[in-house]
Structures are given as structure tokens and as C-alpha cells.
């Protein structure tokens, strides 16, 4: 191939790649992915059209879509999603920054490690939602208590990921850098952070959906505006189209957040192999 001219090589490449085949493959994959969902929607519609259950237990998808449309046009949806995402993101950002800083300290200092190790090993597996009434007592009924719960819940995955990542940095790189005269600050910013970043990012990817879920649960428990609160209100008024619309809205929000985070990862970690395609799921 190297002997032939550039133009011929390009032509051959084009012939080998065959973009139409690739598009066909992509289209096929998209179709295969969409097909069961379409079937599921169809089954749902048929089940309601044939009155297999009551409209109270399973409202028709048309009614749910109409409800979502009125929610959108009346502005309720924007308000609720905005509030929920605001609480989730503020909590997530605080948890992420605290988690990364403390995690690096834990990995770098024995005393900090000694102090936080049992706290993390007890705190990580326990169901932290149970602390919401305590946070309500301390921080009141509005945003602060919800954000506090989000921080409390989302900080643990970030912490453990950061500790593991920082401890997993190749010793030889640290030794080489030190031997070449790097200061502690340079070591942190130019060796540890880049080397640990992929694993820290994985921790953040776990923490973000947790923040969203915890926000929604907290809203459900406390009521008020927000996706969770409006859904529980619909449930209390036995308004089942509202409940199902809420589920779909939450699912879409969750899906976008997870996919968005994966996209951020791919952009930030172009240089890291793992970013290629984690297609296993």
C-alpha cells in the first residue's frame, strides 16, 4: 500500500471503509434498540385500549402524553425539572469538590487516613436516606436540607474512588518525578491528578445519578415543588396520569444526566483508552 500514490491509497481506504455499510450498521443497531421499546409502548396502549386493567391502575399512554404536554405548556414541568436539577447539581458539585480534596488528603496523609477510614467504611454501606428527618430538623424544609442529604449521600462514592485512584498511581512515576526535582505541588498537579483522573471520573459518574435520585426521594418525602414532590402530590390525589407522567419525566431526566456525564467523560478523557466505548451494557 505504501508504494502506491496518495490518491490511490485514499481511494482504497474509502473502498475498504465503505461508509454506506457503516451507516447501514448504525441504522440497524438503532432499529434493534428502538424495536422492543416500540413493542412495549404498543403493548401498553393495547392493554389500556382492551380495558385489561382500569384506567386508574394503568392510564393509557395517550392520556399520559397529554398530561406531559399540558405540564410542558403550563410551565410546571420546566419549574419542577429546574428545581430538581438545581438541588441535585449543587449537592453534586459540593460533594465532588469535598470528596476529591478529602480523598487526596486521605491517600497522602496517614493521620487523615486513620481518621476517615472507619467513618467511610461505616458510612458508605448505610442507608443515608434515613437521615433526612434529622436534616429536616437541622436545616428546615426547603432547599438546604435536601442539598445536605445529597452531599451526604454523593460524597462517599467520590471519596472512595479518589482514595483508590490516588493510591493506585504508579510509584515509579512518582519516584521519577521526584528524582527529577518536582516539588510536592507539581507532583500533585502534574502526576497524581492526571493519573488518577479517569478513576475519579468513574466515581463522579456514580455520584451524579445518586444525587438525582436522592433529590427526588427527598422531594417525595417532604413534598413541595420539584419532580418528586409533584409526583407524590399526584399520587395522593389518585391522579394516575400525573404519576405516570412523573415517572417518564424522571426517567428522561435521569437518562440525560447519565448520558451527559458519559459525554463529558469522553471529551475530558480523550487520551484515556477506557473512554473508547464501554459498550458492554
Amino acid at each position: 500500500m505504501t508504494n502506491t500514490g496518495g490518491a490511490t491509497a485514499a481511494l482504497l481506504n474509502f473502498a475498504e471503509e465503505r461508509p454506506f455499510d457503516r451507516w447501514f450498521e448504525q441504522g440497524k443497531r438503532l432499529f434493534m434498540a428502538a424495536f422492543p421499546i416500540v413493542v412495549l409502548l404498543g403493548a401498553w396502549y393495547e392493554a389500556t385500549a382492551l380495558h385489561l386493567t382500569t384506567a386508574f391502575l394503568l392510564p393509557s399512554p395517550v392520556a399520559v402524553a397529554e398530561r406531559m404536554w399540558t405540564d410542558t405548556t403550563s410551565g410546571d414541568l420546566v419549574l419542577n425539572i429546574g428545581l430538581t436539577l438545581y438541588r441535585a447539581f449543587v449537592g453534586f458539585v459540593i460533594a465532588a469538590s469535598v470528596g476529591v480534596v478529602v480523598g487526596i488528603l486521605i491517600a497522602r496523609s496517614r493521620a487523615v487516613h486513620w481518621f476517615f477510614d472507619p467513618i467511610i467504611s461505616v458510612g458508605f454501606p448505610m442507608p443515608k436516606v434515613a437521615f433526612l428527618p434529622i436534616f429536616m430538623l437541622w436545616f428546615g424544609l426547603y432547599d438546604t436540607s435536601k442539598i445536605a442529604l445529597v452531599i451526604f449521600d454523593a460524597v462517599f462514592p467520590v471519596l472512595t474512588a479518589t482514595v483508590a485512584a490516588t493510591q493506585g498511581v504508579d510509584r515509579q512515576m512518582l519516584w521519577s518525578a521526584r528524582m527529577l526535582g518536582a516539588s510536592e505541588k507539581q507532583l500533585l498537579w502534574e502526576i497524581i491528578m492526571p493519573a488518577a483522573f479517569p478513576s475519579i471520573m468513574t466515581g463522579l459518574q456514580i455520584a451524579l445519578p445518586i444525587s438525582l435520585i436522592v433529590t427526588i426521594v427527598a422531594e417525595m418525602i417532604m413534598g413541595g415543588p420539584g419532580l418528586g414532590g409533584s409526583m407524590i402530590a399526584a399520587s395522593r390525589f389518585a391522579d394516575s396520569p400525573g404519576v405516570f407522567a412523573g415517572i417518564i419525566e424522571i426517567a428522561i431526566a435521569g437518562y440525560c444526566v447519565v448520558k451527559g456525564m458519559a459525554m463529558v467523560r469522553r471529551r475530558l478523557l480523550v487520551w484515556h483508552q477506557e473512554a473508547e466505548d464501554p459498550t458492554t451494557v
Binding site: F35, L40, P118, I134, V217, I221, I247, I250, G254
Partner: protein, 297 residues
């Protein structure tokens, strides 16, 4: 982590060495030093509310929390007059187990274990079948993909609409919420089975079913077990959340009504109980996992 041995490693080390007593003393010391920060936190808690740094309403002193834990444990009504013999003993045991904490805790744990058992059995079956039969995979994979990132707590209002305020709405919620992590780990584990093992088993005349049960399942077991660990943590969260939102019994419900009634020391006691249960379940499961998977090394 790398420099200091974990406690479980030390236990196995002790069992093989002859210096049992000395080693146990060393183990006790390291455990004490390891968990000392928790004691320090407890002391700070007690001191800050005793010394009036924070209001005792916002943070009841630790010793009143412990006292109210015991008062929740014992039944509120007085002991019935018991006849002698077996029936009397049974009535007494029935009375002794009628404390708020025990009845509500039993309700919660029943919901949790029923939901989790269903999730584990059905989730594993679906995951392994997905990895084993291609058509099933094509059918289920997109559905799993759509529902996996979805916040399962969003289903709480629906399960309430469908199944009411009792046990079953929580059991079904825990089942749905915990099934997908198990399914996914079983799927990945079964797909990661060494092809040579499958081929060898098949060439030596094992039927497809036998290969599935004796080769694929054991090789997927480590992944399945770590998926179950995720599910275990999730089941506690779903249990507490659903009980806090709508329930008539259960530990989460207790936290809710104690908080609403302003009995904060009792509320702290129940919250700590739930945390301790979650922690103990995770640790116990981790020990079980180590035992079951000990063939791996």
C-alpha cells in the same frame, strides 16, 4: 490500604500461626486504634450537646438516645399475667417481642428479604438467559438499558397506587429496584465465561443445560455476588424511602412519626438502628462472599 493488613487477613494469619493469644491481643489493639475515630466522634457529639454548644433539641445527647433505644425495645404495655408451663412461656415471649422497635423492624426486614430474594432469583435467571440465548438478549437488552439508569424510587407512587400502603407495595418496589443490578452483573459474568471451558465441557459430552449450570453459573458467580451487594445496599435505601413516604409500619415509618411528634432522641435512635442494620448487612454479606468465593484463590 497497601501498607496495613486488613483485619480479615490477620484472622486467617492467626489461624495458621501458633501464637494465637499474642496475635489476638494485637488484633484487638489494631481494631481499637482503627475504630477510635468513631469513638471520638461519639464523644464530640455527647460533649457538644452536654456543654450546650448545640441545642439538645437539634442534637439530643448520645446517652439519652441510647436510653430511648432501650425504651423502644421493651414493650410499652405491662407484662401479662402468665400461666406456668409452655403456653405461659410463649405468651411471655410474645409480649417481650412486642416492642415498637422489634415489630417495626421485623416488618421492614420481611419486606426487604422478600423483595431481595425475588430480585436475586429472577434477576440472575434473566441475566444468565440473556447471555445464553441470543434472541432473548436482543429482546431484553434494550429494555434493561432503558430501565437501568432510571431512578427506581420514582416507582414508589406507582407501587402505592397499585398495591396500597401495606407490605406488598414495598416488596414489589424492592424487587423491581434490585433486579436490574443483579441481571446486569449476571449477564456480564455469564458472557465473560472462558469459552474454552464451555467448549471443553461440551466436547466431553455435557448437555447445554448441564454446561449452563455447572460451567457458566459458577464462573459468573463472582460477578453475580458483587451485583447482589449493590442490590443489598439499594434494597435498604428503597425500604427506608418507601416507608418514610407512605407506610403504616416499618423502621422508616417509625422515623417519620417520631420526627413529626418531636421525639427527637427516639428518632435519632431509630435512624442509628437503620444505619447499623445496613452496615451489618453489608459486612455480613462481604464475609459470606469471601467464604463462598474462597475457591478463587
Amino acid at each position: 490500604m497497601t501498607t496495613e493488613a486488613t483485619t480479615t487477613d490477620e484472622v486467617t494469619e492467626i489461624e495458621t500461626s501458633g501464637y494465637a493469644r499474642v496475635e489476638y491481643r494485637r488484633l484487638a489493639t489494631t481494631t481499637f486504634v482503627r475504630y477510635l475515630p468513631l469513638l471520638i466522634l461519639a464523644a464530640i457529639w455527647e460533649a457538644s450537646s452536654r456543654l450546650g454548644l448545640v441545642s439538645t433539641l437539634a442534637l439530643p445527647p448520645l446517652d439519652t438516645v441510647i436510653t430511648s433505644w432501650f425504651s423502644l425495645l421493651v414493650p410499652s404495655n405491662p407484662a401479662p399475667a402468665t400461666a406456668a408451663g409452655l403456653s405461659g412461656a410463649l405468651t411471655w415471649i410474645g409480649w417481650a417481642l412486642s416492642g415498637d422497635l422489634i415489630t417495626n423492624g421485623a416488618d421492614s426486614l420481611w419486606r426487604l428479604s422478600a423483595g431481595l430474594a425475588m430480585a436475586i432469583s429472577i434477576g440472575t435467571a434473566i441475566g444468565v438467559l440473556m447471555a445464553w440465548y441470543k434472541p432473548f438478549d436482543i429482546m431484553m437488552n434494550p429494555i434493561v438499558q432503558v430501565f437501568y439508569p432510571m431512578p427506581k424510587s420514582a416507582l414508589i407512587p406507582v407501587t402505592v397506587l397499585w398495591l396500597g400502603f401495606g407490605h406488598w407495595s414495598k416488596i414489589v418496589l424492592i424487587f423491581i429496584g434490585c433486579m436490574l443490578p443483579v441481571t446486569l452483573s449476571a449477564y456480564n459474568g455469564a458472557r465473560g465465561t472462558e469459552q474454552f471451558l464451555v467448549w471443553s465441557a461440551r466436547s466431553m459430552g455435557a448437555s447445554r443445560r448441564r454446561t449452563l449450570i455447572e460451567v457458566v453459573l459458577p464462573s459468573a458467580l463472582p460477578e453475580i455476588m458483587s451485583g447482589i451487594r449493590t442490590a443489598l445496599a439499594l434494597s435498604f435505601i428503597l425500604m427506608v424511602a418507601s416507608e418514610l413516604i407512605v407506610a403504616r409500619s416499618g423502621l422508616g415509618y417509625m422515623v417519620g412519626w417520631l420526627g413529626d411528634g418531636g421525639v427527637y432522641d427516639a428518632m435519632f435512635a431509630v435512624v442509628l438502628t437503620i444505619s447499623a442494620l445496613g452496615f451489618a448487612a453489608d459486612r455480613g454479606y462481604l464475609m459470606l462472599m469471601k467464604r463462598v468465593l474462597s475457591w478463587r484463590e
